[in-house]
């Protein structure tokens, strides 16, 4: 592959210390994700999937190794710099949607843009376009508690796309949905992939894993296969 990888993990390790006890959640993990790839991370409980997701999402720091996001080494970045990088380069999709109940649909989609300092008018314009794109134009003024689970996840997808990120991280995105709705959301992710988005998804669901281009298998904090 010719293009620079979006994600480049080089022997990344994460060791938790708890009362003198060291737990290695991730050891010497090396893998790369290239632009336009749709990758799933799978593995049994406690294998280190969430740990990887935290590190990928810049919510946590590796204790060893190197992580390059879009060519930027992030290990030494301070909190503000990581926040800003996260804001511009990563779009999150959560298992339980994580919408803000005090804001309506448009307001929710605007949040990443407001932290990026996008002017109000531009923000609203883009938010409305994204909402249209996920098929929720008729719901733009609604609050999250007036939406179904599938609708909420579609709002969350629109929000993840708000700053046109290089990487989309999805954590069990269909885990809280019934099978029909889950299928619709999966199709939407397929569609994003088809449009050239780079997506990494953590899931327990083998069917969902099978839809992705590649699966990275983790066990006991180590990558078994699918690293490249």
């Amino acid at each position: 592959m010719s293009a620079d990888p979006v994600v480049l993990f080089d022997r990344v390790g994460r060791v938790y210390e708890k009362g003198g006890l060291k737990v290695t959640a991730l050891r010497e993990a090396s893998f790369a994700v290239h632009p336009g790839e749709y990758v799933s991370i799978m593995g049994p409980s406690g294998s280190g999937k969430s740990t990887m997701l935290h590190l990928l999402g810049l919510l946590d720091r590796p204790t060893s190794g190197s992580y390059r996001l879009n060519g930027t080494e992030v290990r030494e970045l301070d909190d503000d710099a990581r926040s800003s990088l996260r804001n511009r380069s990563i779009g999150f999709i959560f298992q339980s949607f994580n919408l803000f109940s005090q804001l309506d649909v448009v307001g929710n989609v605007e949040v990443p843009m407001s932290y990026a300092g996008v002017p109000r008018r531009e923000r609203t314009r883009r938010a409305e376009a994204l909402i249209e794109q996920v098929g929720l134009g008729h719901r733009r003024g609604h609050r999250p508690n007036e939406l179904s689970g599938g609708e909420m996840q579609r709002v969350a997808i629109a929000r993840a796309l708000a700053n046109d990120p290089a990487l989309i991280l999805a954590d069990e995105p269909t885990g809280n949905l019934d099978s029909a709705t889950a299928e619709a959301i999966s199709a939407m992710l397929d569609d994003l992939h088809a449009k050239g988005r780079t997506i990494i998804m953590v899931t327990h669901n083998p069917e969902l894993g099978a839809r992705t281009g590649r699966t990275v298998r983790v066990r006991d904090g180590a990558i078994l296969d699918g690293a490249a």
């Binding site: 969430s50 997701l53 935290h54 999402g57 919510l59 946590d60 909190d79 503000d80 926040s83 800003s84 996260r86 804001n87 511009r88 999150f92 959560f94 298992q95 339980s96 994580n98 803000f100 109940s101 005090q102 804001l103 949040v111 990443p112 407001s114 932290y115 990026a116 109000r120 929000r159 700053n163 954590d171």
Partner: protein, 423 residues
């Protein structure tokens, strides 16, 4: 995010739990309301004192006859028949004030005649005052129709009277008064004028009588007709009291001489009246005295304000800490979407400040309403000063900022990975 946008978001977040928000600001509301109400009462009292001083004349002093405490020996004398209790200022003394104290420009005697004023065959509560022609001048009190008393009224011992505006209404309603007579005790007086309306409330330290409810007769005429002795019946005993002058109003040439003249006057009178049957009232001193009480009052109020805002602030801090704990997921999600620590800190600090700011506004409204109610119910004058409003507002907001800081710091330190945690 700009401050306005942060405020909008904070308002939306607070609006999610309106009852909680209201309860949280209750401490601040009550504290601010108490301060505003108290400050308006004390401002009103100050205004009233000033008003009375204005009515009395800034350049005037008053000397009043005071009934001395009856000693045992006098008690014996009093039990004898025909004994007359004599005290107070003498008319002859008044002239001496002017000769001995060159700063005294004018002296006006006042003699309150304890006589009934009749409207037809009905008694009224109008009071009668024997005084000189200078009263109008010294109180800046003008006749609205006809004329006030003149020096020639006194010289000729004319039986004339001038009516206060209220007395005129009570005696004649809307009938003309020209050429009419008024019966005072057993004597008749011809009405020669009606005074303008002079509003001054009879309360506060100065104890001004209601000028409108009086009628004025020449001092000399009054003394000629009724004499200085009056008889009062108290529980079956008749008490005869002889007072020549109940009160004298002195006009001082310049304002800065009022306090020294008052002091000299006290000296002079103490020598002439060792029994202490007089009182010198310096309006300016009353003002100073009221300012002193004001200061004490202000300190007490400030303490109450500080205490209630402390309690209110702690209430806000308490609820905001609970808020932060409940909203960890929101905070984590915001962090995941790119909020910096300071964005989170500002958001939560803004909520605390808005709580106390809105609490402050509600408190100001409640306090102003309370002051208004007190004015209506108790008849006290009140004044909500802009200074009090600004102060209350500023202090309440500052309390929100101070007590919101810790919860805001806690919010900013929430670990962003909680965004991905499933409960």
């Amino acid at each position: 995010m700009g401050p306005l946008e942060t405020a909008r978001l904070a308002l939306r977040s607070l609006a999610l739990q309106k009852v909680r928000a209201l309860l949280t600001m209750l401490g601040v509301v009550i504290g601010v309301a108490a301060v505003i109400a108290m400050l308006s009462i004390s401002e009103g009292a100050k205004l009233e004192t000033l008003e009375q001083i204005r009515v009395l004349g800034v350049n005037n002093l008053r000397v009043r006859s005071v009934k001395p405490v009856i000693t045992e020996r006098k008690e014996e004398e009093a039990s004898r028949e025909n004994w007359i209790f004599e005290y107070g200022l003498r008319f002859a003394e008044l002239a001496r004030f002017q000769t001995l104290l060159p700063d005294v420009e004018l002296v006006v005697p006042l003699r309150e005649l304890r006589k009934d004023v009749w409207a037809g065959d009905r008694k009224t509560d109008i009071t009668v005052v024997g005084t000189s022609s200078h009263l109008a001048e010294i109180l800046n009190y003008r006749a609205q129709a006809g004329r006030f008393l003149t020096p020639s009224d006194e010289e000729s011992l004319r039986r004339v009277c001038v009516l206060g505006s209220g007395a005129r209404r009570k005696l004649f309603r809307f009938q003309p008064w020209q050429g009419e007579d008024v019966k005072v005790g057993e004597a008749w007086f011809r009405v020669v004028g009606v005074m303008e309306d002079k509003s001054a409330k009879a309360s506060g330290g100065i104890n001004l009588p209601d000028l409108n409810n009086q009628i004025y007769v020449p001092y000399a005429t009054a003394m000629g007709v009724y004499g200085a002795t009056s008889v009062k019946e108290t529980t079956g005993n008749f008490e005869a009291v002889k007072v020549e002058v109940d009160e004298a109003i002195l006009r001082i040439r310049s304002e800065d001489r009022i306090v020294p003249v008052g002091r000299s006057l006290r000296h002079m009178l103490t020598r002439a009246h060792p029994q202490g049957d007089f009182e010198v009232i310096v309006p300016l001193e009353l003002l100073h005295q009221s300012q002193r009480t004001q200061r004490t009052f202000t300190i007490v109020m400030a303490s109450i304000a500080a205490l209630s805002l402390l309690v209110g602030g702690i209430g806000i801090m308490n609820i905001m800490l609970a808020n932060v704990a409940e909203r960890k997921k929101e905070i984590g999600t915001r962090r995941a979407l790119g909020a910096r620590k300071r964005d989170i800190r500002r958001q939560f600090l803004m909520e605390s400040v808005l709580l106390s700011l809105i609490g402050g506004l509600l408190g100001i409204a409640l306090g102003a309403g309370g002051a208004r109610l007190i004015q209506l119910a108790a008849g006290w004058q009140t004044l909500v000063s802009p200074f009090a409003v600004v102060l209350a507002f500023a202090v309440a907001t500052a309390a929100g900022a101070v007590f919101g800081t810790w919860p805001a710091i806690k919010a900013a330190s929430v670990d962003p990975i909680v965004a991905l945690r499933e409960e």
